[in-house]
Symmetry: C2
């Protein structure tokens, strides 16, 4: 019975071992053999479902928040012993949902495993395959790209000629923010943690200037050097001492879009921010946001970014590790800045 033999596959999973209160380490996750999985949606389930073969998985800093036993967030924690969840791109193997058929390529929330049964298929998006690499749907055309898009246009209220600073600027979100700001006619400076990334910012992404924050003994002075007239817009990805230095360098009526504070993810007692008084004297607006509040803008985002990409006006750099087993190290690397560009894990190419 050839068909039945093919209809079963081995399913490996990356599971969370237990909740943590510090920066994630590889040993907080474990690759386990999930046994055999039938390659079809089980009968008698609660409703229509989709079985996907995972191709690409996304490593994003927000996922660290789901490793804490903290139920008061906008997203619930992971379950210890169960697979890590995150955005992914996969191929539909079987579907009992009328919107999806075997062979469709989809993106959405999935598990860190070879095959995932998606019981809420309405959250999946069907991907029209094109000249755009599939994995880009986790970055340029996925959540990070959309975060950059709504953060820059909806939160920063940018004006042509304004001075924009982006931290973690070569990351999944930062590289897009910087390029959008350039397209908008702004002067853009980025910070990153290695000279290689600084080069990338200037040579590949077209930032006007960039610096390695690890080589700056005085961040306030570094920003003063790059922004003698001050900063109009700060796209905040890191928190901590950089935010304090920025607060001293903002211009009157400046805006700070608070997208992430990756430097603070690992610490139980986050660094204190001391210069908030600048919010008053400079009349600064500081606003946190989450891209999912702006889903109505997603189609427009896809149109705009696809057009810019095809016109060669936006490029994207990703850092791809190969094999599900590389997931934990790739994820952990985000918090020490090991990744160069958007971190993804290739589980399978087809």
């Amino acid at each position: 019975m050839e068909r039945e033999r093919q209809a079963v596959a081995r399913n490996r999973k990356v599971v969370l071992r237990g909740y943590i209160d510090r920066a994630p380490r590889e040993e907080d996750m474990e690759l386990v053999d999930g046994g055999a999985v039938e390659l079809r949606v089980p009968e008698g389930g609660g409703g229509p479902a989709v079985l996907v073969k995972n191709l690409y998985l996304s490593c994003d800093p927000y996922m660290r928040g789901r490793m804490r036993d903290f139920r008061n967030s906008y997203i619930p924690p992971f379950k210890p012993g169960s697979p890590i969840e995150g955005f992914g791109v996969g191929r539909v193997v079987d579907s009992t949902h009328p919107g999806f058929s075997a062979g469709d390529v989809v993106s959405g929330m999935t598990g860190w495993e070879d095959y995932s049964l998606i019981t809420k298929p309405e959250q999946l998006r069907k991907i029209q395959q094109s000249d755009i690499p599939l994995s880009y749907h986790l970055g340029l055309l996925g959540m990070p790209g959309f975060t950059a898009y709504v953060g820059f246009y909806e939160i920063c209220s940018p004006k042509k000629g304004e001075f924009v600073f982006v931290s973690a600027a070569s990351g999944a979100v930062g590289q897009i923010v910087g390029q959008l700001a350039k397209l908008h006619g702004c002067y853009v400076v980025g910070s990153a943690g290695t000279d290689q990334k600084v080069e990338l910012l200037k040579e590949k992404f077209g930032f006007d200037a960039a610096f390695n924050y690890k080589e700056e003994p005085d961040l306030t002075a570094a920003l003063k050097r790059h922004f003698p007239e001050g900063i109009d817009i700060y796209f905040e990805n890191v928190g901590g001492p950089m935010l304090d230095a920025v607060l001293l360098n903002m211009r009157v009526h400046g805006r700070i879009a608070v997208c992430g504070m990756v430097s603070q993810h690992g610490v139980t007692a986050p660094a204190g921010i001391h210069n908030l008084f600048s919010l008053i004297s400079k009349r600064i607006e500081m606003k946190g946001f989450i891209q999912s509040d702006y889903v109505h803008l997603f189609p427009q985002f896809v149109d705009d970014i696809t057009r810019h990409y095809r016109d060669g006006k936006i490029v994207y750099v990703e850092d791809m590790s190969v094999g599900l087993e590389s997931g934990p190290a790739s994820f952990v690397g985000l918090f020490s800045g090991k990744n160069v560009g958007k971190q993804v894990v290739c589980v399978s190419r087809d």
Copy 2:
């Protein structure tokens, strides 16, 4: 020559002795005899000017910023050896400006002295005397009232039924914010530093609840108790640990109007704020503001507040000390919360 004898008066001044880097103390200021002053605008000056007899002087926390040798603020520092400057209400003694005549009552920036020569009379506002006490033009109908008005309506975007928290709630600004929020249909809680002030908030200003922050070992728990569903709007007057506690108690899409951080005025190294990550998870907007950016709303403010006051819908409490010599102690008292209500100094009643 009766007329000439009357046209000279003794002028006392409160001068700043030198710049400071800590909370102000009485001895940082000095009452000096400024000698005799001719009671008319000197001839040959640079342009039209107004000589006023100061009646009431305002003590405001922002003035502490002018005691530092720091020129990068929205307002320049005081000059050591020269009188303290601040808002005041005075009576015009002589004027070479066509808009003002002897006998007019005016409010505006003046000096801490018996008589001030105002060389920029265009910044003065003429006061129509009425049933409203003259000193209220330094509070309810002056800069603090206007700060409360623009801060609440323009920065907080309040909606009926929302949960509002005001710190330093019995102060010059806080008491008005709380009453405006009640008029807007919000649920309002205030914090203050003595039981007497807490009583005032509940009994006089009609706050729904109030607490003495000095008697709360855990501010986060205190706010949780008063706002089991969280805070929609925080009107920030104090900074420091209260802000950190508020950040943990905000609701999704909450707003923080940053008006002042009086707890931080005295310290060279301000307390660190550790919970800014909440800005992201709760999508909070935190915005600093200065009332002078909204002068176009001043006439509407005066109309609205005057009507509310006459209708008995807003009350105002001020703490008046008597005599120019009482100025330094009254000002210094702001930073330890000695004042009950808006602090003013009565230099002369007529």
